[in-house]
């Protein structure tokens, strides 16, 4: 790790203690088992419980907090500002997204700077949200969206996207609709929905015998369920087309099912805002 003058630095080399744990003891629950029954007892097509809340950060224009299983993400949105370092006038406003894991959010400690994965996820977030935002309403301005994963229990990208769309709505950024996102994973012929970390690792690794080829991979689909539109489709792995088709169908339904939860939260936000206005008047 490069020496960082602006932080308090630890020793040059340090090793997470999990490296030294007794492998036989700790890995009693082999991930392969989840092919028949998932570790947390869900069916393969079940989603985890979702909790959402807006207005959690007093200093931000809009903010939201989401919990999906043990995954916890906070997101904040700030006032538009002029697009920095740009000389040309841009007719459409821009979204700037930053996706970051807290250093303690994953099994392995993360460094403070954004790594390649986080940068990639920031771009995915931006592409998922852009179709939902009326960007022509704020030409030459940029809205900053920051998402921070406090605890990664899998599918944190999907959670961050939903959280960001709520935060944008909470900040009264004009939007065409809400964005929801669900992740899916393939391992051999099994499709998992709303993955946990262990399932993400499993689906990322290729099954041993590639002949005949086995599926493996991750899919994240962000959608505007109110308009029946897919705003982002992000796939990594090696999957055949029929399975992808099946996944799109399942994910579209799942996105539609999540929508009411997010909408309800927004209704509460609006009611709260109205109440506050009423109080100010009196």
């Amino acid at each position: 790790m490069p020496f960082d003058q602006k932080r308090i630095n630890g020793p040059e080399v340090s090793v997470p203690y999990s490296v030294y744990t007794d492998v036989n003891k700790s890995k009693s629950s082999k991930p392969k088992k989840s092919l028949h029954k998932r570790v947390d007892g869900r069916e393969h097509k079940d989603l985890r419980k979702i909790f959402v809340k807006t207005g959690v950060i007093s200093q931000a224009k809009g903010s939201a907090y989401i919990e999906v299983g043990i995954t916890k993400v906070v997101c904040s949105v700030f006032d538009p500002r002029e697009i920095p370092n740009k000389n040309e006038y841009s007719l459409q406003g821009e979204l700037f997204c930053e996706f970051k894991y807290a250093p303690f959010a994953c099994a392995k400690r993360r460094i403070h700077q954004q790594d390649a994965e986080e940068k990639e996820f920031s771009l995915v977030m931006q592409r998922s949200l852009e179709p939902a935002v009326c960007r022509q309403e704020f030409p030459n301005f940029q809205v900053d969206v920051y998402a921070l994963v406090l605890d990664n229990g899998g599918s944190s990208l999907a959670a961050a996207i939903m959280c960001a769309s709520l935060a944008l709505a909470d900040a009264s950024v004009p939007m065409f609709g809400l964005v929801t996102a669900v992740s899916a994973g393939f391992y051999k012929d099994t499709m998992f929905l709303d993955l946990t970390v262990e399932e993400e690792v499993l689906c990322n690794s290729a099954p041993a015998k590639p002949n005949p080829p086995n599926n493996h991979g991750l899919i994240m689909q962000a959608a505007l369920p109110q308009h029946d539109q897919i705003s982002e489709f992000f796939l990594v792995g090696s999957i055949n087309i029929d399975c992808i088709k099946q996944a799109i169908e399942t994910l579209t339904v799942a996105n539609k099912n999540i929508c009411p939860v997010v909408q309800q939260c927004l209704v509460k936000t609006v009611l709260r805002a109205l109440k506050r206005k009423e109080q100010e008047k009196n």
Binding site: R127, P210, G217, D228, F234, L235, V236, G237, N240
Partner: protein
């Protein structure tokens, strides 16, 4: 992408043309422009290729270096992509202008090659935990006339096909330190198995201001890219499997359209893979004495 200014009338013309399956340069919607590919153009690299797709001009160099594997994956080699958008290509790439696009393309390539079905990184390992090959794939965009993703992926595949990694004759552990020796004969090399390397197929969708149903075009020119709100970049393996899907642009699409787009991408990807492999084999048959054209043409 590259700055092409189009008036509303010009855009309408292009979009109506696409609607009638007749594009401004006379192609139909699923036709590619002519391509030229030549490998081994850079003698100092392990492998290289130059690809021209109409006026899009890509140069790729592959370098192999000995490196230490990551502690997480002790028996895997490394593969790294870097895309440089040269300011030669378009004035928009001046300074840091091309950085975003460059990162986007290299990220997409990384995703497309991530699965071990594509490239088994264990084949690049020399001694577990000690030594492995690291392949640097450097892409230089010399000229830009639309459809960068497809052109870059094809050029990368061609360059990796031509790549020759020196043969390791002995690899032993000597008191905890790795000791490797390469073959003395510079022509004694290992080639990569490109049989499952994917190509990228970009399908331009959702033309701005006019919804043109489920029509999408492959190999868009920069003018056509200007009219498009969203494109789907699909990495297709020669056997038709899909290794990555990325959406670019600010638009969104309907689920049914997405499914159709992916199917189309798969069919085109299979053909494209076969095409490039044929071309590379043909070039191979010319033997090692073939004349290298490079940039003379």
């Amino acid at each position: 992408m590259a700055n092409t200014l189009l008036s509303l009338a010009e855009k309408t013309f292009i979009v109506h043309g696409v609607d009638d399956n007749y594009r401004t340069d006379g192609r139909n919607r699923s036709e590619y422009r002519p391509m030229e590919v030549e490998t081994k153009v850079l003698p100092h690299t392990s492998g290289s290729a130059r690809l021209r797709l109409a006026n899009t001009d890509i140069l790729v160099g592959v370098k192999a270096e000995v490196d230490t594997p990551y502690p997480d994956n002790p028996n895997e080699g490394k593969l790294e992509f870097f895309v440089d958008c040269s300011a030669n290509a378009t004035p928009a790439f001046e300074g840091k202008g091309g950085d975003n696009l460059g990162t986007e393309i290299s990220n997409t390539l990384t995703l497309a090659y991530q699965s071990s079905h594509v490239l088994d990184l264990t084949t690049l390992c020399i001694l577990p935990q000690q030594k492995c090959w690291k392949l640097y794939v450097d892409v230089l965009i010399l000229q830009c006339d639309g459809n960068l993703f497809d052109a870059v992926a094809l050029a990368v595949k061609a360059a990796l096909y031509s790549a020759q990694i020196p043969k390791v004759t002995t690899a032993t552990l000597d008191g905890g330190k790795a000791d490797i020796q390469l073959s003395d004969d510079p022509f004694d090399c290992v080639k990569l198995d490109v049989g499952s390397f994917p190509v990228l197929v970009t399908l331009c969708k959702n033309f701005t201001f006019i919804q043109i149903g489920e029509n999408c075009v492959v190999d868009p020119t920069s003018e056509e890219e200007e009219c498009s709100a969203a494109s789907i970049v699909v990495a297709v393996m020669p056997n038709g499997r899909i290794t990555s899907v990325v959406k670019t642009g600010y638009g969104s699409l309907q689920p049914s359209t997405l499914v159709k787009t992916l199917e189309l991408a798969k069919d085109i990807g299979i053909k494209l893979n076969a095409g490039i492999m044929n071309a590379l084999k043909e070039e191979d048959e010319l033997g090692s004495q073939r004349e290298i054209f490079g940039f003379l043409k």
